[in-house]
């Protein structure tokens, strides 16, 4: 699996992401600087988490307009796989590759802890290593993860199985108490219409081996390896 990890100023999760990709796929990913205009020839483009441009204006707003994003959008439109985690998810919504927006958390706090996710759709390149309905543990670390979209968009996402990950409690129950940031319908991760772009707020790259306290997040990367080997 050949992967590129796009690095913007202010991003801080790129090393964790590169390590997770390397450990799970066996191939070191290629870091790409935001000022570059062209991506290398890769199967997967990853936009990691952090605070690109200090979250100025809106989270991900400036990064979404940086030079490399033209090629990210072009490759996404060709069907290349794109994964955005946390700030990467925000950048993907700001760039128009994913619908909706990530608003300030409902309780206004920066939230940094483990949450549970329910795998709502495992027929995607980003979730096929899990069972449908499987409950996984995953860390979150964000201030603006409150997913919002208009009612029509939400209905489409739900109807088309494009809500891939949803916040839940440890038993898999989707409750308001388990909705960590106030996202509509407890949405944690969504897919674009074509099914090749996924954005999610939680950080699966931080839970890929027992040294990190668990490996529930590994499935995201195993799914990608499987999808690209097929």
């Amino acid at each position: 699996m050949k992967a590129a990890v796009v690095v913007f100023p202010g991003i801080n999760r790129e090393r964790d992401m590169m390590r997770a990709l390397h450990v799970v796929s066996g191939t070191a990913p290629i870091p790409v600087w935001h000022a570059d205009k062209e991506l290398p020839d890769v199967d997967l483009i990853v936009i990691p988490g952090g605070f690109s441009y200090g979250d100025y204006l809106r989270c991900g707003a400036i990064a979404a307009r940086s030079p490399i994003m033209g090629d990210v959008v072009a490759k996404a439109n060709e069907g290349r796989l794109v994964l955005g985690i946390c700030n990467g998810f925000q950048i993907l919504t700001e760039s128009g590759l994913l619908p909706g927006a990530l608003m300030r958390n409902r309780n206004l706090n920066f939230i940094c802890r483990d949450v549970h996710l329910r795998v709502e759709n495992n027929r995607t390149p980003f979730s096929s290593a899990y069972a449908k309905g499987q409950v996984i543990r995953c860390p979150v670390a964000h201030h603006d993860g409150n997913y919002f979209a208009d009612a029509e968009t939400i209905a489409r996402l739900e109807g088309e199985g494009r809500v891939v990950y949803r916040y839940c409690d440890e038993t898999g129950a989707v409750t308001e108490a388990a909705n960590v940031n106030g996202s509509i319908n407890s949405i944690a991760g969504i897919l674009n219409e074509r099914g090749n772009v996924l954005g999610m707020m939680p950080h699966p790259e931080n839970l890929i081996e027992q040294l990190q306290g668990g490996d529930d997040g590994r499935g995201v990367f195993e799914s990608l390896v499987g999808a690209l080997a097929a």
Binding site: L57, R58, G182
Partner: protein, 79 residues
Amino acid sequence: MKARVTITLKNGVLDPQGKAIEGALGALGFSGVGEVRQGKIIDLELAESDRDAAMKTIDEMCRKLLANTVIENYSIDIV
């Protein structure tokens, strides 16, 4: 030419910061405050001297960067 762009959240978009301000005003004893909504103001200095051309350019700036029209409305005032 100077212009001011005012960006507000669309109706129906949850504004947790506005809610927090609302609660804090109540805690300070200001009664009778209804809903509070928070927005932002961006002041621009432009070389352009033609008003219509400036409006057109700023409108494009708003759509491309300054506002996220999924969640925000914007208005432009030439000052």
